[in-house]
Amino acid sequence: MGTLLQQTVNALSLGGVYALLALGLATVFSIVRLINFAHGEVMTIAGYGIWWALLLALPAPVAILAGVAVAVGAALAMERIAFRPMRGADVTTLLITSFAVSEIIKVLFQNGISARPVPIVLPAWLTSTIDLGAVRIGMISVVSIAAVVLALGAMALLLRRTPLGLAMRAAAEDFAVVRLMGIKANHVVALAFAISGALAGIAAVLWVAQRGSVDPLMGATPVLKAFIATVLGGLGSLGGAVLGGFVVGAVEVFLQGFLPEAALPYREAISLSIIIGLLVLRPDGLWPAANVSRS
């Protein structure tokens, strides 16, 4: 029973990070039809931002804010430098552009800083544990889940309550008509990238806190998982991305925790099979986007 509760906390904690990343991917995709595989590198950049801030002996909360700010800046710069010139290109071209951006950033870090991970030590209170009777839960998991809930809540408020959020939701459905309303396309796109950057930055903080190091390839695996989550949730659906993230996290954690020892090496294969199975049952995803966009 205690183990089940602990694994549930683990699943929420991991799923939450995937949800943040998947939501960032989906936000950008819903507006510019770009599956941004360089999203993982935004996370990596945020990680190095935290590392750099700690090297400058800034206090941990400042370093964390710096990491998120760096991620927003990186996402905006990526949009301005790499993706804006490609605006209107087809999905494949955009996808390949994002791979190119991703590779360039990885190599810059590998050759500019180090191919090896750099250690990051966050405050001790983050690494303490909470005793709940028979169950001991890591503070970091709790903080992680709380941060995800806050970030998702803030995102929902932004989308529901602000004019720009309204424009973003509308743009996800029909970008051309949003422009006919006089709303500047560049502002909406930039906002989408800024939001995705902020979410990736928060994900990076949680990731780094749990892993203790940053390396040039840090973002690659999580962004792949987040991509799977967005497809599972329904490509282009923001709610679907969040749901997909939590499902992918739960599948991974529960398989890791409850598969018999002999089957453990096949965990990834089993986990992907479950996701493919879900997609066979629901080809448009668990929570499809409301409208298919018109061309």
């Binding site: 309204l166 939701r169 459905e173 008509v177 422009r179 309303m181 709303i183 396309a185 409208n291 018109r294």
Partner: protein, 236 residues
Amino acid sequence: MNRLSVTGLRVRYGPIEAVRGLDLEVGPGEIVALLGANGAGKTSTLSAIAGLVPPSGGRILLDGEDVTGLPAEALARRGVGLVPEGRRVFASLTVAENLLLGGAVHAPPPERRARLRRMEDRFPVLGERRDQKAGLLSGGEQQMLAIARVLMAAPRLLLMDEPSLGLAPQMVERVFDLIAQLRSEGLTILLVEQNVPMSLDIANHGVVLANGRVSLRGTARDLLASDAVRGAYLAG
């Protein structure tokens, strides 16, 4: 001065030229009906005037100001409103959100609220359904919403692309009544329609397109009487 003055407009999609040197004028407070068969270049013309596609040639003047090649958002801010073909309301947004978005950049929040109330008075069905998702409205209600959404911007030139398409007959009449009423309020309208008799019935002038060029133009009354229009659109 004409509200809209288009000279030598050309629109090209890759190798295909959809509009080939079109001249068009719309005076203030006028309805001009843009007619023609499918593929004649009507929607391309509207898209170019609204800034959704850049013209490959020609000039577009709005109240004498050259606005050729400006992007859609800039034209919208200058008072060009388009009711797009197929309505294209934001299905996952509520009715009120659709309307507020229509006035988002044109009016400060208090004024936007006031306009929203006026629209809800004018279109009671939208007031009743203000918190429903627009995707749940009927086709006719969505068309009303699409028109009300543009009116939120208080445009000086209203472009309408097939507003009666796919609507039930009595709804079609309501739409045409509304268009005529909007003119009587002083709005300038460029109307693209398949329904030639009803369009010419409310229009001041008509322009018939064929293969991207003007094949016929005149007052609505003359066109209604012309053999060419009767033969092509009013036969049977």
